[in-house]
């Protein structure tokens, strides 16, 4: 199965624009992916034909919008292999999803309970839990990382004990691209009765996980990482957990009955969907999943591996270049530095050449502290990138390095 790159690239209008007079080479896909016209069309269609508030509306537009929104929930369910539709909560994205669980889970914890985070996390999967620990008196434990940018799984085994209540780890590290052994992490946590939340933000654009098979308790996704719009995502939670957690925000939609004496809450998923949701965003999220499935995740994975291998081999030939995150199991992300050249310098010069990369700590300061560096240059690839772009990128890095040395 090979990808028809000409056809795929034609789906993404933004890829034909110029930046600083040069054709855009977009390698910041881990930050956000680009949007195909199939998704842009769905967004335009929503506002042009059936924009209305959903659920409980008696008029036709409201009914149409509700149907499409709930259809998107079904698409999410099919895509992620989720058992029950109401186990899917639409949220503004992964950060929000994590905060929702951290808020609720905190009320189930008591002083002295333990929760485990990994050293490879994005700040969004660290800070909400620190806040939860402050509120509940629970203790935060950390699975350390290795030089190769992987998790020290022997240390993980030692951290687990009968006080451990929850483990949260990302599926893929945003800063390094490492794919974490979440199957093993989940199995071992369950063996001692702890729940597991997996932050899927960086995985979902490259890997199609089956959440039922994974047996994970919570999983979070942001639509904009997989060709959907920003401001929408999901929290998946096993039914019994979502029933146990208290509501996160109060408002319309999430109630059953309201009096000034007492309010009873709506059933799942509405209990966690206070206020008007991102209706258009949810529908477009469904469209993005349909688009990516039509391209095919197997083909995407194989092709991105080829891009990664090619770029890694060629970059490694640049004198003084060091790649952070050297494991076989990684997505198409290359985090690197060249000698002691500041990543900001490389990023600035690449931008002048039309090449978009990210520089800095990537919201993962503990990883940068581990390597004792201020940050890295991160190039992250998607299935619409080409080998020619890898060429331009490697040549660009060489040119920038020559200027800075």
């Amino acid at each position: 199965m090979t990808l028809d790159l000409t056809k795929i690239r034609a789906d993404f209008p933004i890829l034909s624009r110029k930046v600083n007079g040069q054709p855009l080479v977009y390698l910041d896909n881990a930050a956000t992916s680009q949007t195909p016209k199939q998704v842009i069309d769905v967004i335009a269609d929503y506002y042009q034909r059936y924009n209305a508030n959903i659920h409980r509306g008696v008029h036709t537009l409201s009914q149409e919008a509700t149907d499409k929104f709930e259809e998107a929930r079904k698409t999410v369910q099919d895509h992620f292999g989720i058992e029950k539709t109401h186990e899917i909560i639409f949220t503004p994205g992964t950060t929000h999803s994590i905060n929702l669980v951290a808020f609720g889970f905190g009320s189930l914890l008591k002083t002295g309970d333990e929760v485990i985070v990994s050293a490879l996390e994005h700040h969004a999967n660290i800070v909400p839990w620190q806040m939860m620990c402050e509120r509940s008196g629970a203790i935060l434990r950390v699975i350390p990382m290795t030089d190769a940018g992987t998790l020290d799984m022997k240390a993980y085994d030692k951290l687990l004990n009968d006080k451990t209540k929850l483990v949260f780890v990302n599926h893929v590290s945003n800063a390094l691209g490492t794919i974490n052994p979440i199957e093993e992490i989940i199995e071992k946590a369950h063996a001692i009765g702890a729940a597991v939340l997996v932050d899927g933000a960086q995985a979902c654009g490259h890997i199609k996980p089956n959440l039922q098979k994974l047996n994970v308790d919570f999983y979070t996704v942001s639509a904009h990482k997989l060709c959907g719009p920003t401001g929408v995502g999901i929290l998946y939670g096993k039914e019994h957990w979502l029933k146990k957690l208290p509501p996160y925000q109060g408002g319309g939609e999430m109630i059953d009955e309201v009096t000034f004496e007492k309010t009873t809450y709506a059933d799942l998923p509405h209990k966690f969907e206070a206020g008007t949701p991102n209706i258009c965003g949810g529908i477009a999220f469904g469209a993005a999943l349909n688009y990516m499935n039509a391209v095919g995740f197997e083909a995407i994975g194989a092709y991105e591996d080829e891009l990664l291998k090619n770029a890694t081999d060629r970059l490694s030939k640049i004198e003084g270049l060091r790649i952070y995150g050297e494991t076989e199991r990684k997505t198409a992300v290359i985090s690197f530095n060249i000698d002691d050249i500041h990543p900001y310098d490389i990023g600035t010069l690449l931008d002048k050449m039309g090449i978009a990369v990210r520089t800095g700590h990537h919201c993962a300061q503990p990883i940068m502290d581990y390597y004792k560096i201020p940050g890295t240059v991160r190039a992250s690839f998607a299935f619409y990138n080409t080998l020619e772009e890898v060429d331009q990128f490697v040549n660009g890095v060489q040119k920038a390095t020559d200027m800075l040395r």
Binding site: H342, Y344, D345, L349, T359, G360, P374, G375, M403, L404
Partner: protein
């Protein structure tokens, strides 16, 4: 030379270049001639916030003129601060406070002026002016 005259001199130098590469190469060169901050002042307290790279700035007053020294761990940032210091250093606090920074625009570095840019050029200018203000208050 007045601040404005120095700025015009810089504009003239940059006008010789016709592409971004030459401009940036020159900026990198200028960074190498930056009057370096004495290590005793290279403290966390003297780091300018708002920059992705670290920038340290220090100011002394000699004969009622402000002398700036600085350093950065990024080469391009070093070039930017070197240009600013060349324009502002060795002038009275009053002159520095009254000086405008339109010349940045004219040397093709306008993109760095946006407050949302990670390089913190705006913060650097603010910091230089704050030093001038502090010395101005001393003189009054």
């Amino acid at each position: 030379m007045t601040v404005e005259q120095v700025q015009n001199e810089i504009i003239e130098e940059f006008s010789l270049f016709d592409d971004w590469m030459q401009r940036y190469e020159y900026m990198i060169e200028l960074g190498k001639s930056l009057p370096l901050i004495d290590t005793q002042y290279k403290t966390d307290q003297n780091i300018i916030k708002g920059c992705q790279s670290k920038v340290w700035v220090h100011a002394d007053m000699v004969d009622e003129k402000v002398i700036f020294t600085a350093d950065s761990d990024a080469i391009i940032t070093k070039g930017i601060i070197a240009i600013l210091i060349r324009a502002f250093s060795n002038h009275s606090p009053k002159e520095i406070l009254e000086a405008n920074t339109n010349f940045i625009d004219q040397i093709g570095l306008k993109e760095h002026l946006s407050p949302t840019r990670a390089n913190g050029l705006v913060s650097m200018i603010k910091q230089l002016k704050l030093y001038a203000l502090a010395y101005q208050t001393q003189l009054n």
